[in-house]
Amino acid sequence: MTEVTLSNVIKRYGEHQAVHGIDLEIRDGEFVVLVGPSGCGKSTTLRMIAGLEDISGGEVSIGGRVVNDLPPRERNISMVFQNYALYPHMCVRENLGFSLHIAKRPESEITSAVNEAAAILGLEELMDRKPAALSGGQRQRVAMGRAIVRHPDVFLFDEPLSNLDAKLRTQMRVEIKKLHQKVGNTIIYVTHDQVEAMTLADRIVLMRDGHIVQVGTPLELFNAPVNTFVATFIGSPPMNLLDGVVTENRTVRLIDGQELPIPSSPRESVQPGQKVKYGFRADNLSPVGHGVSDEGETADIALRIDLSEPLGTETLLFATLASTEIQCKMLNPRPVTSGETMTCRLALEKAHIFDAQTTQVIRSN
């Protein structure tokens, strides 16, 4: 069984601290995605797990074994790099079989393992080509093939799709997910793209500035962000956030004087006079009769539509509310003219109140 455990893992580059004491438990066979803006320490964390960076503090263990001082070759992991790092002087077959040759496996075993990996990834036609003669997508596939021939305990991926064009990226995303279902290994996957994180992960680890901000399933992060950073990072379009102040009668007064009711869950946890951010997703605000149902708590807002983007099954509407640009969604769309005023309905139970100072979400307590 190969759990990967990080406890209080720290990375320092001289004075600069890149990773600030990360705790994380990854279960056997789990697909975990580390996501966050560029420079937040994702790659550094992954490379410490791989053994490519020294660990400045804390402990990393793989399968119950502390690996802090083991070189990469003794950790039984595979890694797919952003630039693929294929060996340019070897053909695809040699690239795939390299690790087994190093391990001095019998030739027959190597051949069958290489052929098996090639079959899984559809590389049979390319076996005698050098990496220079492959397209980006094919190189990507070879890199993945090289990772799976060894049947490692853990796969590590560092932004493996970011050098591909959009279409190929979507396609390879599906293949990676299929691969995980087929081989069932533990996977730790690094990306800065929240869509990749949402679609691939069993659990997402969202990082910022060397800290973990939130860990959870994609839906947990989407539906219950712990702060405004998570709320705006996860989900597209990002969550609408409006500045306001809590009033005596438990509403939020926006800066234009308009008041929005506070959803019942945090209603008792806010203090009158507290500065807050009122957050809701575009999906939870829509013109009356075009999405948000009447059930549960709702609030109606009159919005002047600045712009509309028809997407087919829905139309994305841009409006200005309390000097802030917000977006809302219209299902079963009808044509909308810019400048039109519409009454929109907000699903209150999906709204979030964040403390303006700490940016943390305010929940019922």
């Binding site: 490519l52 070189p71 595979s78 790092a85 060996y87 002087h89 390299f98 690790s99 190093i102 060894r150």
Partner: protein, 287 residues
């Protein structure tokens, strides 16, 4: 139609000019070499003739004399050739090994004073070799390695290491570090990762460095003429001086030996030229 014609004429003219220019440059480079080869096959009278004789007669006299005994104006060609080969090959081998290690270290590792060392090495190249000949002569004489293969090998290694470091540093720098990281994850030690992945990828660069080092040692005259004196250690360039007597210079014999000296270098360069070109244009081709 007319415009097309004019355009084509211009293109043809440019091509012609290009050819003429190229021909001139190549002439300047090649004619001395050609002249040496021609002279080595001419009787001495024709070599000295004024105006020069353009349709030469052909003779192998100079070669016969050169390989002949000492009495007939011969020189110990095979000893000189052997000395040159031993000294050049050994010093190149050692210089490439040391230089490659150094280049790799500069490309891959961080250590304090790194840029200082690097600049220092390059400055070392700025010192003219001849300026060192007297101090070297004294030191070598005291240590007792004057007039030995070992002494000259030592000098050539010292001469070639900085340049080799500089050249291979550039090549290793262009190899992404992920390559050895991938190899290490695939089960290699750091040492294996170098020899199985990084070295083969950089081998055209190492080959270029080796050729440069070899040619430098093969052709070096100034220091060799000071530090060697007997048949047992003189190299070919120094051997050329055997053809100068007090009042005369045996130009024909000198040219014959020079041809013999150019040949191995030429052959070697042809053998590795594919690597050499690949090496020198490494940055342009992305693997």
């Amino acid at each position: 139609m007319d415009r097309n014609q004019a355009h084509r004429n211009r293109r043809r003219m440019l091509k012609g000019l290009h050819f003429v220019g190229l021909f001139l440059v190549m002439s300047i480079i090649c004619i001395p070499g050609l002249w040496i080869i021609l002279n080595s096959f001419r009787p001495t009278v024709e070599i000295m003739a004024k105006p020069p004789v353009w349709n030469p007669s052909f003779t192998l006299d100079h070669y016969r004399a050169m390989f002949g005994g000492a009495g007939q104006g011969g020189v110990p060609v095979f000893s000189y050739l052997w000395n040159s080969i031993v000294i050049s090959v050994t010093s190149t081998g050692i210089a490439v090994l040391i230089g490659m290690s150094g280049g790799y270290a500069f490309a891959r590792y961080k250590f304090s004073g790194k840029s200082g060392y690097f600049v220092g090495l390059m400055l070392f190249r700025a010192v003219p070799g001849v300026a060192l000949s007297l101090p070297l002569f004294i030191v070598f004489a005291k240590v007792g390695i004057i007039d030995t293969h070992f002494g000259l090998i030592l000098v050539y290694v010292a001469m070639n290491v900085p340049f080799t470091i500089w050249l291979t540093d550039g090549f290793f720098r262009q190899i992404p570090k992920e390559l050895h990281e991938a190899a290490e994850i695939d089960g290699c030690t750091r040492w294996q990762a170098f020899w199985k992945v990084e070295f083969p990828v950089a081998r055209s660069g190492v080959a270029s460095a080796a050729i440069f080092a070899f040619l430098t040692s093969w052709n070096e005259f100034a220091l060799a003429s000071q530090l060697t004196r007997s048949v047992g250690s003189k190299t070919m360039p120094v051997g050329l001086l055997d053809f100068t007597a007090e009042f005369t210079i045996n130009w024909g014999g000198m040219c014959a030996l020079a041809v013999l000296m150019i040949l191995p270098a030429l052959i070697l360069t042809f053998i590795v030229q594919k690597h050499l070109i690949a090496g020198l244009t490494f940055g342009g081709v992305k693997g």
